[in-house]
Symmetry: D2
Subunit: 344 residues, 4 copies
């Protein structure tokens, strides 16, 4: 059994890690840490876990000391020091936050307003989107787990960009996320009567996931590119849908593009290319690690339209982190992640 600890266990991503890891055949949760609730039990904060996970919430260092792998889900700027401790102890560090996602410190500084405290650590870190960068993860000490929006977008565009089917320039991404994406912390916008029956964009053109999206898409396209990215808050608990618009560069028919996508993801356990004519819908991936992708074309305007959906808490956070754990520890990549979606 691999001993794992979770830092930031009472946030939504932390709680989702607990939910999923409890069904993992090769993992034992050895420690949970929470600044807000230290001293309480996990099941006091989440009564859903009563009799299932009654572990105490302890200090961070205790958690690190007892773990072969440590997951952290914290606000940005807090992960480097934890990563350093883990590395020092020989524990693998899997960061669900933003601190190890960007390879270019200048980009990090520009979007997050602070630089790296421990720059040398970042040389040991990888951006860990398994379907695209699996080989990098196998030996990594520090695993930067991708953001939720970027995961849905990179998987949605990879086959098109890698194969030059779509123009690298002019990509427009209209993304929508359920409210768990905003976290467990209280805000007026996520107060039930304010969020319920509402819908609006936010951070148009200035969301911090933008450089992460561009980093991956640039790699895929083999050229530096910029995207227009507009997220929206969706009045559901879980799920991200990204509708992505790009210019068709070749005369390739949609049927052909569809075949290329199917081939690209042929061996993947968690990416499903929908039959032509169907639409990727968030209910079909709910509570699961799947990413569903549907392809559409507007031939009148020469536009490829990609719809990509994930569960923001699973493939967009905790599930993908476990997938990375599995890869890093040489387990079946799907271990603990095989539950079918909860479709209704």
């Amino acid at each position: 059994m691999i001993n794992v600890g979770i830092i930031g266990a009472t946030g939504y991503a932390g709680a989702e890690l607990v939910r999923l890891l409890l069904s993992h055949p090769a993992v034992k949760i050895t420690g949970l840490s929470s600044v807000s609730f230290e001293g309480k039990r996990m099941s006091e904060i989440y009564p859903s876990l009563k009799n299932i996970c009654d572990l105490p919430l302890t200090a961070m260092d205790e958690v690190i000391a007892a773990s072969d792998a440590v997951f952290a889900s914290l606000p940005h700027g807090l992960s480097e020091e934890i990563a350093e401790k883990c590395v020092a102890r020989g524990a693998v560090f899997i960061d669900l936050g933003a601190d190890f996602r960007l390879y270019d410190e200048a980009e990090y500084e520009k979007w997050y307003g602070l630089g790296y405290k421990l720059p040398q650590l970042h040389e040991r870190a990888v951006y860990a989107l398994p379907e695209l960068f699996r080989e990098r993860i196998i030996n990594a000490d520090i695993i930067g787990n991708p953001g939720c929006y970027p995961t849905s977008i990179a998987l949605g565009l990879a086959p098109a960009l890698k194969n030059g089917l779509a123009a690298a320039e002019g990509i427009i991404i209209d993304a929508k996320s359920g409210v768990t994406g905003a976290g467990r912390g209280l805000t007026q916008n996520t107060h039930f009567p304010d969020a319920n029956e509402n819908f609006a964009a936010y951070k148009a053109g200035c969301h911090r996931h933008t450089p992460e999206i561009e980093q991956t898409l640039s790699t895929l396209a083999g050229q530096k590119l910029r995207v227009t990215f507009v997220p929206h808050l969706l009045p559901v608990s879980r799920g991200i849908e990204s509708t992505i618009y790009c210019k068709l560069t070749t005369g390739t028919a949609l049927e052909e593009i569809h075949k290329i996508y199917e081939k690209f993801y042929a061996g993947e356990r968690f990416v499903r290319v929908m039959p032509l004519g169907e639409y990727a819908a968030i209910r079909n991936v709910r509570a699961s690690n799947y990413c569903d992708i549907s392809l559409h074309a507007d031939e009148r305007t020469g536009t490829l339209i990609v719809c990509s959906v994930i569960d923001n808490m699973v493939k967009g956070a905790a599930g993908q982190a476990i997938q990375n754990l599995n890869i890093r520890f040489g387990l079946d990549e799907a271990a603990g992640l095989l539950q079918p979606p909860v479709v209704f």
Copy 2:
């Protein structure tokens, strides 16, 4: 008092007309017609109207005979004959359906699969989006009430296109509609457990509102243009949000664009340009005739982003139809439409 009748009174748009007209100071509902429920009372189908509107549901011809103005909300292909009867009787016909929205019969045939039965009637019809084509409506016999998506989009883009601030080519529209947009008829996709907590695109690049959108935007831009239009089903009852992406053609700063928008809509009662930095949200227009527009720019990619929201049942259907009635009959344009939004 103007005597008005409603054909298709038990559909959602019909019921919304009843709800709003009951507060109209200069209108009397003289007849309601419904194929499905003829013989029953309106309040038997909508118990919300008990003691408020207990009118019987009668045959169409009875309704027309008693009315100075007739609203119809029917599937496409059914309005021409009703329009003819109204015109013959000297009653104004306001069509909430699609049959009188397109000036080009070829476009209608292409998207709806059938031609005009009474082509000469269409010469007496106008496409009645008040803020853009008010003068046409004043004397019209047949009023083609705009579709819900097209209303939000045309109002969102009019100042930019009229003033050449945005490129006519390459406009991308990502729109989201609440479930009332799909009507009162039962479908699997609008069954509660299927629609709830779900989100997906539909009819990407092939929705029938496309030619209507292009007709108006072409007029505004002064050139024939095509758009990429992708609607999505939003798990709320009411509301449309359209996020519109277009290329900035001039070096105009967002502040300047914002001023141009404010000036463009300065005299309008139902269009509100949000302060820069805020986002148009569907809750802010719920159950009202307002259209809220917010403006955003992604300077990195030279993209103007317009968010435009309406209540699909009010400004997108019944409310706008009443606004058109008011214009046609020389009433205060806002008569019966002054209730503030139901924000929570």
Copy 3:
């Protein structure tokens, strides 16, 4: 025009008063006060009111000084001093809070944990449920506007208790309220992902509305009675449904009871007794001042089941307060309250 001011204008009940009063033909809003947002404009806090109500949020005393009638919607314990100021100025005080609902100070102290600061004021106060105590309201200086749950319950039971159709003892009330009932303040339980798709009871047998319910039902029954009252949090924005169980004391058939209810409420504008066989549903009263009541019997157990629904923000708060204003100032009781429900 009657000049009215609102203290606590940015809470949900305050905002709902603004929404409704803006359509009132005989009222002018002359002042709005908010401790949290003093100095801002109402439409900055509620963008839904942009161009509709841009009044500044000022200090309480300014509001009182400019008003013939003052509404206050504040936490308990804060209303007496405001009432005193209003009375001193000759302004009518309408309290949407709890401080003037109980005639028995001992009860207030028992449930709220503090006594009256200005006991003599309470002699000038009335408990103002119009359908039951209309005549008291006409000359009152201080109007204690009923709580939301108590309104739905008192109206649901009044005909049965007044006519001795149901036993005074053993009444059980299972009530459910939408989340606006918990107010605009942030709590974990009303955070969207926690409240959404959830349902649970709270404060079983110990909710502070209990003594108010018992006060009215005791008056109706002509004897001191106690009820079992259990509220639940419903994952909707608006609406209260109370299902009330009581023992049938006489052999009266349901049809007869139904007739008695219809007669009892025959002259009332805002209470609707549903036809036998139908069920009171919150959507049928949404955003309106109606109370719908449906009657059912379980003959096997000799139980009368009353379902009573209101919109907690309208008949349960702001709408009823305006109804009381109308009564107090000799206006049409329904002035400003005639909008039909927003059924979808």
Copy 4:
């Protein structure tokens, strides 16, 4: 591996069986049958199951022929003939419908309007609520899986009635169910805009689960009893909450009752008695086989209030059916049912 088949596989309960059985370590799904969709694949009807369960939907007899155990989820009146075929083949029949829940044919006839076609079969059938009647299930050929409401109610009251803590007479049950409880078939009441933001009772005092509830409670109380049962439709996809009111018969304090409940369910894997002061909430059992029970007392009226929650599709249908399969086949009772709740 146990070979199992599902008849009525495309209904919600059938689809939920598939979802859960796919994670069962000792079961293989060998056949799926659907009258409506015969000839299609399961994943065509439920795209959430693409690449996970692509089995064809075949005729019923094929399914029976390939199975050691057959689940059926069908409208009442259709299960006896299937049960007969299963028994003839030596396959265990687990009925999620109503046909094998009542021991008294007269009751069945009274509530369902038809008698038994094959009365002798019913002697081989058991009412299979594991926590109460586990020993009966071990050797049963025909397993009548309990209804959703009755499961939540029987588990909520069992310790109280068995120990005489509550009066057998006068029990009132106010229950609320998510919309999946109404099934996948389309109705106006479950159309999204009609069900969303709505709440109402239905079938007050006349729901068909009443005799099943009374059968179990009478057994527990050791005397024939009747209950008042009123179900409501809750605007969520999943979950049942039953708030149950009964008279405290003894002076037993709530703390003592709580201890008795904890002891009663001490060995149970799927029943959790909440700490005093907390409330059973449907989110805490979502998508899981748990039943959470919370206990409250209104000492002023001498009333015991029990809140009992389950996921109607799991413990209320598919999960409990699998629990019964496990018992019948001598497996770990929790096999395939250990996933933690999906709390958000």
